[in-house]
Structure formats: C-alpha cells, structure tokens
Point group: C2
Chain length 201, copies 2
C-alpha cells in the first residue's frame, strides 16, 4: 500500500501568523512533518512526502507535485493508497495502527471542523474532494461508489494544527519535535476565564 | 462500579446563548443528557445523574447535590467510580467500552481545550479538580498518589458541546436526540471561507 503525506513546502500554516512569522511557520511545519513521518515509521509504514516544491530537509522519499491537493492526490489513488496529513503532530504508532485496523474499502479519520485528516483507500473508485466539510463529501463519494466505509474515532488523528488555538492541544498532549520547537519559541499555555489558549513571551 | 453523570439542572450551557435562548438551552442540554444515558446503558452500564437541582424529566436515578462540581464528585470517589459528562452527545456504546477497557488505576478521557470529559477511578486516592486545564491536574493528582494512568484517545469523548462551534461537530457526526433537536430548531451547518460553523434560520 502506498502511503502519502501531502506537504505545503511553499507557504505552510498561514493561519498561524498571529503567533509565528513566515520563517517560523516553515520551521514549525517541518517539525510537525517529521513527527508524522516518525509515527508512521514506528508503525512499520513507509511514507512518501507529496510536496508542492522541492524539499531536501526530510529523511524520506519526496515527490514534487505543484498542482492542487485534490489533483495531486486523485492522480495517485489507482491502487491501495493511504493519505495522512502532515499537520498531525499528536499521532503516534498506536494511532497509525488504529487507522489501518478496520477491514473496510475506505477508512476515514475525521478532523475537527469537518476535514478529513487521514484515510485508507483499498479500492480504486474512491477519490478525494478536500473543499468545505470534506468528511461529508468523502462519505458520499464512497457511498455512491458502493464502497463500505469505516471511521476511526481518534482525538489525536482529529487534531490538525492550523490555528493558534490548536497549538494549545499540542502543548497539552504532544511529545516530539513540534512541541519542543514550540517550547523553544517560548509559546506556552495560557488560561484565562477557564479557557485554554496560548501566549508567547 | 458507580457511574455518575453530573448535570447542571439550573442554568445549563450558557455559552450557547448566541444561538439558543435559556429555555432552548435547557431543552437541548436535556437532549444531550438523554443521549449520554442511552450510550451508557447500551454499553450495559447503569448511570446515576448527579444534578444541581431536582430533575424529573429523565428515566434514571437522580441524586441532587447543589455544591460545586468538585465537592459533589470528590464526596463520591470512595470506591470504584466513573464520571462521564452530560454534554458528550457523540458518544455511543463503543466509545463507552473504550473508556472502561484500559486496566489502569485511573483512565482519563481528555476533552478538547484541556478539560477532562470522563474518567474511571479504581482507587480511592484519586480526586478531581475541574478548574483550568483539568487534564493536567488530573495527571498530576494521579501521579502524586502513585497511581498508574491510561488515557483514551477518542474524538467522540473529547467533543463536549459548550459553544456554538461545537454544534458543528454534532451536526457533522451526531445521531440521536440532541442532533434531532438541533435540526428541529433549524440550526444547520454553514461553510464560509473553508471554515465550518453553524447558522440558524
């Protein structure tokens, strides 16, 4: 089974701009990618990074495709293929095993907010559409193709890091390069009025 | 093992005020409570509702304790006790089984934002402190008492419904009374600029 990790190598994680500048966002995105690659390898999976531009800073096979995410992924869904997003620094080898465990044509891992953070497709008729609330589209696409679908119930797979509030989840539950990078950048948890956020010294 | 479901029967879910008025918040909170009680019973667990005021609208044993949540729960942690919050309408019997599965003194189910949405305590030395990022306090309390801790990785257990944005998760993934109540109240998903939220007609 092919295992792809899409990665925006040009301008990643723009929604973190309130906390990190452009160079920092690139470095942090790379730290998250490395955490994801580690988790996959520790689960005995061999990932290929599907990057929007050349990337020599990771120890993995990198394929460059500068088209849209939908086009780049759909072009590679001919055989059995899994896709795991690069901004899931909370996943570990157990989480990866949970993703591959269900014996279904399509296994979907919903992200918070309606995204699809990972999937396993064992049938060539599945295809992706990442716009909007993609988890609903992916359920529909699988159903219309007559495929059976399983969903993985994992907070770790559901937590993609896009916005400052998501950094709080990483600080609360993370271990690895990305959370160490945040600590080095003096990003820490803040608690105001019972709500958890982040602050930077 | 005792199984408690704390419930604010006086003024529940105030942070949903931007979408629901006070009577609606009470009705919706009750629909979520019933979904939670259903999930627990379908997993062959017998819950007791720990309510802040009398409540005759649910088909379960209700114990009234108008003290703070910490005081009311800690007073009842003498034997083996589990606590599951009443605002987790995404849980089902499988999720409940996952919560009780780990063989540890204390099993914690983190909520998004640092809360503790459910736990199983099999040792009387565990106690709760729900203020702030309680998952960190609960890890510390268990560690300082020399107890071994397991954590459950579940998006469904992690999704407590407190704010309008949380309603989107229920609309995306829910089934049962709470999501039906929302549909009847004309609350539906909205998608703006790739972000998922809710709107009310």
């Amino acid at each position: 089974m092919d295992l792809l990790v899409p990665f925006d190598a040009v301008e990643p994680k723009t929604r973190l701009a309130p906390v990190l500048d452009a160079d920092e966002r690139s470095a942090f995105a790379l730290a998250m990618l490395r955490d994801v690659l580690d988790a996959l390898r520790r689960a005995d999976r061999e990932p290929t990074v599907l990057a929007t531009a050349a990337l020599d800073a990771v120890d993995a096979t990198v394929v460059v495709d500068d088209r849209s995410l939908d086009a780049a992924v759909n072009d590679r869904l001919d055989g059995e293929t899994a896709v795991v997003m690069a901004d899931l620094p909370l996943i570990g080898p157990t989480t990866v095993a949970d993703l591959f465990a269900p014996d279904a044509d399509v296994v979907l891992a919903p992200g918070l907010g309606g995204g699809t953070n990972a999937f396993v497709a064992r049938h060539p008729d599945f295809e992706v559409d990442y716009h909007g609330a993609s988890i609903r589209d992916h359920r529909r696409i699988a159903r219309e193709a007559g495929l059976d679908v399983a969903e993985v119930d994992s907070r770790r797979l559901a937590t993609d890091v896009d916005e400052p509030a998501d950094l709080a989840e990483l600080l609360l539950h993370g271990e690895g390069r990305a959370v160490e990078w945040l600590a080095d950048a003096d990003v820490s948890l803040s608690i105001e009025g019972g709500r958890v956020g982040v602050e930077r010294r």
